[in-house]
């Protein structure tokens, strides 16, 4: 059999991703949006809070790239600032759901038996409810706290992450190389961290990349309903809400934040799909 050059599976996957043009385009777009959101509010000559009642509802011009809103605030500054919030919520909430979900799923899957049934019964119960309703309930009862917001949102998504991790762990647990590890006397900890976790990374990365847009969407819905971040802070969701209300007078207020938001979601989804194809083990095995 032919010997290829020594490529680890990770490197193989990266090469496959590189070949996927849509995925690479999405990656660059995301990096671009990330940079703009980070630096935009600093570079813009206007602050996102600065009101200028002389220049209300100005369409885009040289001074205000994207126009102004009903209080004369610069839309570019507000949109890029909103990007920071939306992206921060997206990434942080995904991280929370990742940490909780992966640990939970791995423990349930590896332990198996009664512990697994019990843990997953809980997940099933929670899964059957649209969590957003509970998030809204929490928001109502406990007030609008930014920290609470993204913990609550992260807590929504951990269920699916837990399910996926558990399914993968169960699959792996029954493979022969894990049995061989047990036959060789490896401790459970060693097996979990050295043998199971590295083989879970693929699906986890894919799912995490697809969770970020889902989380951003959730935050946007909450903000749209008026239950998310409060003015003058803005996320893309709340900007879109304002834009929708004032659409007849100033369509750019809806268009630009909407565009940023949708393009980000689009790029994240394409990147996620690309990662899924790249990490697909079927294409790397021969024989």
């Amino acid at each position: 059999m032919s010997m290829q050059t020594s490529n680890s599976l990770g490197k193989d996957a990266w090469l496959r991703l590189r070949a996927n043009r849509m995925a690479m385009l999405s990656l660059f777009v995301l990096i671009g949006i990330f940079i703009i959101s980070l630096l935009g509010p600093l570079l813009s000559s206007f602050s996102y809070q600065e009101q200028n009642l002389d220049k209300v509802f100005q369409p885009p011009d040289k001074e205000h790239f994207l126009g102004t809103d009903n209080l004369g605030r610069d839309l570019f500054a507000r949109t890029t600032y909103g990007g920071r919030i939306s992206l921060a919520v997206g990434l942080l909430a995904t991280l929370v759901s990742l940490l909780i979900g992966v640990s939970y799923g791995m423990i349930a899957g590896y332990a198996g038996g009664r512990i697994d049934s019990f843990m997953m019964r809980g997940v099933d119960v929670l899964y059957s409810l649209p969590f957003i309703i509970f998030v809204i309930l929490l928001m109502v009862l406990f007030g609008r706290n930014f920290l609470l917001l993204f913990i609550a949102i992260g807590a929504v998504e951990w269920l699916t992450m837990a399910r996926i991790t558990r399914a993968q762990t169960l699959n792996l647990k029954n493979t022969e190389f894990i049995e061989a590890a047990r036959a060789l006397g490896y401790s459970h900890l060693r097996i979990i961290f050295r043998h199971i976790l590295p083989n879970l990374l693929g699906p986890i990365i894919v799912y995490a990349t697809l969770t970020v847009p889902a989380v951003m969407l959730l935050e946007a819905v909450l903000s749209f309903l008026g239950l998310g971040v409060q003015a003058p802070m803005s996320s893309w969701g709340s900007l879109i809400k304002e834009g929708a209300e004032k659409m007849d007078a100033a369509p750019w207020l809806l268009l630009f934040p909407g565009l940023f938001f949708c393009v980000t979601l689009f790029a994240l989804n394409f990147l996620g799909d690309g990662l899924r194809d790249a990490l697909d083990p079927k294409s790397s095995q021969d024989g």
Partner: protein
Amino acid sequence: MPSIQSLPRMDSMGQLNIQNLSINFRSREGIVQAVNDIDLKIKEGEIVGLVGESGSGKSVTCNSILQLLPCPPAEISHGTIEWTGKDLLKKSEPNMAQIRGKEISMIFQDPMSCLNPYLTVLEQVAEPLIIHNLATPTEAMQQASDILAEVGVDRILTSPNAYPHEFSGGMRQRVMIAMALITKPALLLADEPTTALDVTVQAKILSILKEACLKRKISVLFVSHDLGLVAELADRVVVMYRGKVIEQKDTASLFQNPEHPYVKALIACRPTLESSSDRLPTVEDFNNPNSCCIGANESFTSTLLLHERKVLLETKELTVEFSSKDEKVRAVNDVNLAIREGTTHGLVGESGSGKTTLGRSILQLLQKTSGQILLHGKPIVIGNSQQQLHFRRSMQIIFQDPYASLNPRLTIEQTLIEPMIVHGIGNNNQNRKERVVALLEEVGLASEHLSRYPHQFSGGQRQRICVARALTTEPQFIVCDECVSAMDVSVQAQVLNLLKSLQESRGLTYLFISHDLGVVKFMSDEISVMQHGTIVETGTVDAIYQKPQTEYTRQLIEAVPRANRSTNIFS
């Protein structure tokens, strides 16, 4: 005076005539030539066996006849497939659909996945008649019922609305046969139809197939990797290797006078019930004319007679029970086994016999329900981690699937060093690395393989790495759980030879689990036959194969396909 063209062509034209066929596969890595300029004929009423190992192109050839290959990535670069005078490759899809299932039928390898789980068995068997308008729906169902009864699927009479998942593997394959023959086709293509079945079931299916086809005068193309199987069934044998036809002859001549060295090797390196030698010939032996190891050797007589050896491992009334929500299954039932030091104890059984469960429970990978397992006469105690570690050092296992037995994320070096770290073998990294290199060489690999990943190796090489891994802790006892069952015959021979030589050099004791009687005979000194969780018979190799005491053992031995039952193929 009839013109030359209209005279029927007699002996050179079979019913199916493949000429100059070449098929490529396009993939990300490039173009692979699967079939390279082959000629193949099948005459009316003839049974032709198409034999080859993996990568030979036999399945691709078979699937291309009915144009069932996915066309990208496959492409037929040139050639013709003539059927009753017309080239099938030039036919449009709707025209092909008229031939499929009506003039030419096909049965496939895996009966579990080849039947639609959402439709009843009767509907599926009747379907070809309905598709080709050969009967009304009611008539079709009746004919389906009749033909199913003919092939032995009696259940259909009591439960006509049964679904495929209610039947066993052997029954489903009978359903496939019924489905293929209901339209009385002229040619049947059979792509490894018995590979996934137990030996006894396989024998029944083959006889049903042969009978049904002879009765209806159907010609058959029977694809298989098993030369012995084909020999029992076919009139003529075609051997393929790497996309080319290397030999075609009628069965008897092929086995008595094989010409091509690869064919000779294929015949010789398969351990059969007739042969007895210490080492299997391999393909290399036949390619190298100077090799001296061809042919049967004398049985190696060990310096210690079998019954003089001490018993290393023993089980007493070992029982393993699995309980699920409503039922308890006794996978292993009251098993008494005694395995002697330095010998190989073969464990033979079909699927569901419990042999795998037995192997795992001896190794403490599964909890036993009751009974005792004794090592050196003392019960095995693995209370704390110290005892566990000590136990695991001396008993190891090699699994069936070399593709799943290695962690794909670790290099070979990492995989082989890890057991040493866990068990405290070797003083430092340098020392451990030296040991690893020595192990690799012992199993026939090289030190430059250390930095590579499992997916870069072939199946046979991966299995050698697994053998090396099992040896890292210097065990006394190794369970070989169907460890050559997933391999081609030529690769199998190499691994078996390796296992045997390691046994000699290291004084290892094996529990060799397999369903293949020829392989078990080659490897073992003593054999136990297992059925439904119990040991049916135990004895030395000669005793079992020459004077089997129980009916089941006799059935197993009878069911093994052989080229020629009365003569020894080794001349």
